[in-house]
């Protein structure tokens, strides 16, 4: 290569834009092409819109060059971005920036990377039964390593703030880069002549430029921090410093869910775990047990649901979420479908037991549901919800309460006993609390997975022999398997490899025979 070529003058300036369908990448490209054409600068653009209208990833590729004064003719423009040959890479979302880096389009010798730091989660990240999100700091770190210069900002939030769209902000950010061959005025003229939402897009352009030039903290600081506890509570006596934040949140939850006595029960239970764990630097077992114990004890039954749905603060949240302007009434409809389980929750234990046995006998338990669409913003709807929420005082007498406490005790027993073997194993047992979640069928399935892991691995291990480390590893793998699919197939295959193997062997030939 000759010395210090000036992109856009001595050779084409190459610009690769990665966007998601519906974000206006086409319009963004049009603005740039228009600006070049109006300024007499040579330009060629292309795109892979493909099936991107349905939120797929899409790319636009543009090459730009001032006409040569030496009469050597027009430059050759290519239709494909080439790794190691991209002067500016733009991504409308963080994982798309990661993809650009992954594909070699961001290189330290020349690429200015402009990317929005917000996340639009991919399908695989959304459908995971737990947390399937890609670890974002890996991308922000890689951006700093591989880009000649990285401009990472939350352009999406800024777009909403300026009532504009992200494409206009990205254009403003591009204009702010030293090496961009088009001036702010040229680009703004293009926005005006295109005539699409001119005022909003000019405002967005300015916001994007300012954001790019601002010294917003560069990556490293996490974008998604867990909220700190909302209010100051005095330290819970007798518990180590390391778990105070969780205890505080847990206690608050249980007071809200039931009453102070229930909170006391929570602390009592944790004292047993503390005693079993002994003194360790981080109290990992206690901390995770405290977390999942609070969530489990504050299990979501119809009473809890009705309570949370009929609070005044909720209506304000909904108004905000639905972007309702002041003076615009908002109607809220709830979708309930109570079945035998939910109805029995509202009955005293003996009656509930009768109902459940009767339903099980009749075989109607899974199929029986009453679809209720309740307008919770109306007087009657609200009163119905408050009535159900009021059943809180009778919760301790319900069958569900009885059942949950039994399960909780079983879990705590195992955790404390595992502490005797190794803290690693005890932590894995404690983390199994994460499996307990959901409503209806989902909750039933979760309980089933939990039972299996306990019966097959943890309980035998708590009293048995064998390497505690190996067992801990097995628990972790079983937990991952339980979160891998909805039907419990992965967990079954993990726990009972022989059976599922022979099952496969059995079905294969018979399927052939059927043919």
């Amino acid at each position: 290569m000759s010395k210090a070529p000036r992109p856009g003058h001595d050779r084409p300036f190459t610009l690769l834009i990665a966007a998601l369908g519906g974000e206006g990448g086409g319009l963004l490209t049009d603005w740039i092409v228009d600006a070049c054409t109006q300024a007499g600068i040579l330009v060629q653009s292309t795109s892979i819109p493909g099936v991107a209208q349905r939120t797929g990833a899409t790319t636009y590729y543009i090459e730009i060059m001032s006409p040569g004064g030496d009469g050597t003719g027009e430059p050759l423009f290519a239709l494909y971005p080439a790794p190691g040959f991209v002067d500016m890479a733009v991504a409308s979302e963080l994982v798309e920036a990661g993809r650009l880096i992954e594909n070699g389009y961001v290189t330290p010798d020349r690429t200015i990377l402009i990317a929005s730091r917000h996340r639009v989660y991919a399908m695989s990240e959304r459908t995971a039964m737990g947390d399937g999100g890609f670890h974002a700091p890996r991308i922000t770190d890689a951006a700093m390593t591989f880009a000649h210069q990285a401009v990472l900002r939350n352009f999406e939030a800024a777009a909403r703030g300026s009532n504009s769209a992200i494409n206009a902000l990205l254009l403003g950010a591009m204009a702010a880069a030293d090496n961009f061959p088009l001036s702010e005025e040229q680009l703004k003229t293009a926005i005006r002549t295109r005539g699409v939402a001119v005022d909003a897009n000019i405002a967005g352009f300015d916001a994007g430029r300012d954001l790019a030039l601002s010294g917003e903290p560069e990556p490293g600081t996490a974008t998604e921090e867990i909220h700190p506890p909302s209010r100051q509570v005095t330290l819970v006596e007798g518990f180590p410093e390391a778990v105070q934040d969780v205890l505080e949140a847990g206690l608050e939850r249980l007071h809200d869910h039931q009453d102070a006595a229930y909170g006391d029960l929570y602390l009592e239970r944790l004292k047993r775990v503390l005693a079993a764990e002994g003194s360790t630097p981080d109290h990992g077992v206690l901390r995770e047990t405290a977390r999942y114990l609070a969530l489990w004890m504050a299990y979501d039954d119809v009473i809890r649901v009705a309570d949370l749905k009929s609070r005044a603060s909720r209506h304000a949240r909904i108004r905000n979420d639905a972007n309702a302007k002041s003076g615009e009434p908002v109607h809220v409809t709830e979708f309930f479908k109570p079945g035998i389980d939910e109805i029995s929750t509202l009955l005293p234990q003996p009656l509930a037991r009768l109902l459940v046995t009767w339903a099980a006998h009749r075989g109607t338990r899974p199929a029986f549901h009453i679809p209720l669409h309740i307008r919770s913003d109306t007087l009657t709807g609200h009163l119905v919800m408050r009535f159900i929420a009021g059943r809180k005082t009778k919760r301790r007498k319900t069958l569900r309460f009885h059942h949950e406490q039994m399960m909780i005790e079983r879990w705590l027993d195992a955790v404390t006993r595992c502490c005797g073997r190794s803290s690693e194993l005890a932590l894995e047992a404690a983390l199994c609390g994460r499996l307990i979640k959901g409503y209806g069928d989902t909750r039933a399935r979760a309980g089933h997975s939990f039972d299996r892991i306990f019966a097959e691995i943890i309980e035998p291990a708590a009293i048995g022999t064998g390497s505690a480390h190996d067992i801990a590893l097995r628990v972790r793998m079983a937990r991952d398997a339980a979160l891998a699919d909805e039907d419990g197939k992965a967990l079954a295959a993990f726990l009972y490899p022989e059976t599922s193997d022979t099952k496969n062997k059995e079905t294969a030939p018979s399927a052939q025979a059927a043919e």
């Binding site: 290569m1 797929g56 790794p83 040959f85 479908k337």
Partner: protein, 708 residues
């Protein structure tokens, strides 16, 4: 189309000496009018839909020139309209997505190619291969060879492309043979410029009528004429074509100082090969290559003399030919063998046999060729530097990222009416067990991807029902076939439904009636109710099915998941034999939004009461299991970090993209998922009664919640 192309239509009016700025496919459209076509027909499909969309909106231009435009029922019909050029000196064009469209068109194309043409025929193929493609990966090249039609693959430079359109007609007429011209995805979407000429009114047209029909027994595809046509292809048409290609220099040859080697390439890959050469330090910014180039703007037939002249005196040549089989490489080997030229032919040994030739592939392939061929005066160390550097950075990036970043396969749009059907199938499967689903082509093919993974096979457009014919009787449970309304009118009505009724096939067919061929850009179809000129058609799917004698026929609004589940279960379990058809009906949400957004804006401006619906999730109730997402997959139903300090799994969240279709509520209800969904209806421009009720309710809630 609910979308207007008025702006693009204006570019078709440009005259002598004007400068066109725009997309490749639009440039081709303009080139057709400049070449004086009498007719244009086609079937929509990426990347060439635009040609049809724009012409459909350009009625005034077409009327002025007398050009006939036909939005054809399928590609076979589009190919068949070219029959006009067999007997009459009419230039015509047909356009579709290839190879799928060419497959459908093959019957007509074979007959057209055999009969030969008087007026020039140009078939424009959107070669949907590689990144961004939505179909099976094959080449159109084989069709050209087997039916003996000429195949052009012009260098993607708009002035060249436009010139090639004109030349293609001359070539077609000089050799009595239809000509195909392929354009890859990026070339179709390439934005460039060229100097225009006036449009040419055709000599035969709607305004210049033919008086007498022509009859020529030799143009009929029936023996004995077909034997004569086959001979005529070889004895007259092929030599005429070779002569024309050579004389008019349709292929381009560029000299270079490293004359002991050379590269022969498909015209369409010219820019990419040049970019690779630039990266290797073997070409300058203007694209002057040190390696001599033979650019094949015509890839079938090859002119043997041109190939042997180029190769003579070279030690080694590289053939750059995308896809497989390696027809060009084989043909070049054969030409050189016959000419007794000993040049080594390198091709698929340094370049991949399969897959798109993106920049990196060509950089590595051309680099390897140079390293192996060792041209005189080339610094091999310099050549090897860039590929090694790119490989190193790729490797380091992979390590830094730790794992592959999540992919984004296509999915149904926000509020898509087809999504609920697959939610319903998933729910039915919970009761009845897994069902074999014979999928079809359309947006609904995305059901095979996450989160549904429903659909066991895809056989072609409109072939969902036909593809269930043999598997159905062999399956313990009834088989469900899917068909879109686009597929239904394209092919499914005939090969699927009439075949199933005729054979008394026991099965279930779900027809997605969303009003358009949505996957290709919402073009109108018979059941849209109007054609592209906005004339009413009066055609419906139901009437067509009743006409064919389908008796078990239910129409269900797709968003009613519970109703859909019940209807599907009925269809799957009824003792009634024969075909059971469910018409799953709701308008394409993209088209609907495009239509209603301006209407709503107007209503709001006039101060009318408008209710806007948005769904939401109570974040304190969501436990982060994401069952709802797995049953819906709606892009606006996503996740966000859990605001609860105790919970670690992200919560479900409905973002601002929500169009209020109601599926998440319906699914939560039908699947008895969880109570965290709610529907919020914002009353815009409320009436006094709305305001009073709202004020009363608010006051009551405040007092009630203030009470202990």
């Amino acid at each position: 189309m609910e979308r207007s192309f008025a702006k693009e239509v204006q570019t078709l009016k440009l005259g002598e000496g004007d400068v066109f700025h725009g997309e490749g496919i639009l440039a081709i459209t303009k080139a057709l009018l400049q070449a004086g076509v009498s007719y244009v027909g086609g079937y929509q499909g990426a990347p060439v839909s635009h040609l049809i969309d724009v012409l459909a909106d350009a009625q005034d231009i077409l009327d002025d020139l007398g050009v006939h435009f036909e939005a054809c029922a399928n590609e076979a019909a589009a190919a068949a309209i070219c029959g006009a050029s067999i007997n009459y000196p009419m230039r015509g064009a047909a356009v579709w997505k290839s190879t799928v469209g060419t497959n459908v068109a093959s019957d007509a194309l074979s007959n057209l190619a055999s009969a030969g043409v008087k007026g020039g025929v140009l078939i424009i193929l959107g070669e949907d291969y590689g990144e961004g493609s939505s179909i099976i990966q094959e080449r159109s090249h084989a069709f050209a060879m087997k039916s003996q039609m000429w195949l052009l693959d012009p260098r993607p430079h708009l002035p060249r492309v436009v010139d090639m359109v004109e030349r293609a007609y001359e070539l077609s007429e000089a050799s009595s043979t239809p000509v195909m011209m392929e354009f890859r995805i990026r070339a179709c979407h390439m934005h460039g410029r060229f100097e225009t000429r006036d449009n040419k009114a055709p000599e035969v047209s709607r305004r210049q009528l033919l008086q007498d029909p022509d009859f020529d027994i030799n143009r009929i595809c029936l023996p004995p004429a077909t034997y004569g046509q086959e001979k005529h292809k070889i004895e007259h048409r092929m030599p005429a074509a070779l002569e024309f290609i050579r004389e008019h220099r349709l292929n381009e040859f560029f000299d270079g100082p490293r004359a002991d080697v050379g590269i022969i390439l498909q015209g369409g890959l010219y820019n990419s090969v040049l970019r690779a050469l630039q990266q290797l330090g073997l070409a300058d910014v203007q694209g002057n290559s040190q390696i001599p180039l033979a650019v094949l703007n015509v890839t079938y037939p090859l002119v043997p003399g041109e190939i042997s002249d180029f190769c003579a005196g070279k030690r080694s040549v590289l053939v750059v030919e995308e896809g497989q089989p390696a027809f060009l490489e084989q043909a070049i080997e054969s030409i050189l063998r016959r000419a007794d030229i000993q040049t080594t032919v390198v091709g698929k040994d340094v370049l991949p046999m399969a897959g798109e030739y993106v920049a990196e592939v060509l950089l590595n392939g051309v680099g390897k060729f140079i390293e192996g061929a060792v041209p005189e005066g080339v610094d091999l160390q310099e050549v090897g530097r860039t590929p090694a550097e790119v490989a190193r950075i790729r490797q380091e990036a992979a390590t830094a990222l730790g794992q592959t970043v999540p992919t984004r396969p296509p999915t149904f749009c926000t509020g898509c009416p087809e999504r609920p059907v697959f939610s319903a199938i998933k729910l039915v499967e919970r009761d009845l067990g897994k069902i074999h689903v014979a999928a079809d082509i359309g947006c609904h093919t995305f059901s095979t991807l996450a989160p549904f993974n429903i659909g066991n096979s895809v056989l072609g457009y409109g072939l969902g029902l036909s593809s269930a014919a043999a598997v159905g009787p062999a399956m313990s449970r009834r088989v469900v076939s899917i068909m879109g309304d686009g597929g239904f009118w394209h092919n499914g009505l005939n090969s699927g439904v009439s075949g199933a009724v005729f054979n008394q096939t026991d099965g279930v067919l779900v027809i997605m009636n969303n009003g358009y061929t949505s996957a290709t850009g919402q073009q109108f179809i018979p059941s849209t109710g109007k054609n592209f000129r906005r004339e009413p058609t009066g055609m419906t799917i139901r009437k067509a099915l009743e006409g064919l004698g389908v008796s078990w026929l239910k129409t269900v609004t797709t968003y009613r998941v519970g109703q859909m589940v019940k209807t599907l279960r009925d269809a799957l379990t009824t003792s009634e034999g024969g075909l059971k058809v469910i018409i799953a009906e709701s308008e394409c949400q993209l088209a609907r939004q495009r239509r209603i957004k301006p209407e709503i804006r107007e209503q709001l401006k006039r101060g009318e009461r408008v209710v806007r619906t948005k769904f939401g999730v109570d974040e304190d109730l969501c436990t982060g299991d994401h069952s709802c997402i797995r049953l819906s997959g709606c892009p606006s139903l996503t996740v966000k970090p859990n605001p609860d300090p105790l919970r670690v799994d992200p919560v479900a969240h409905v973002n601002d993209g929500c169009v209020g279709c109601g599926l998440c509520g319906e699914v939560a209800d039908a699947a008895v998922l969880c109570p965290s969904f709610y529907r919020a209806e914002v009353v815009q421009n409320p009436r006094p009664v709305d305001r009073i009720m709202y004020a009363l309710r608010s006051r009551f809630m405040k007092r009630e919640s203030a009470a202990p």
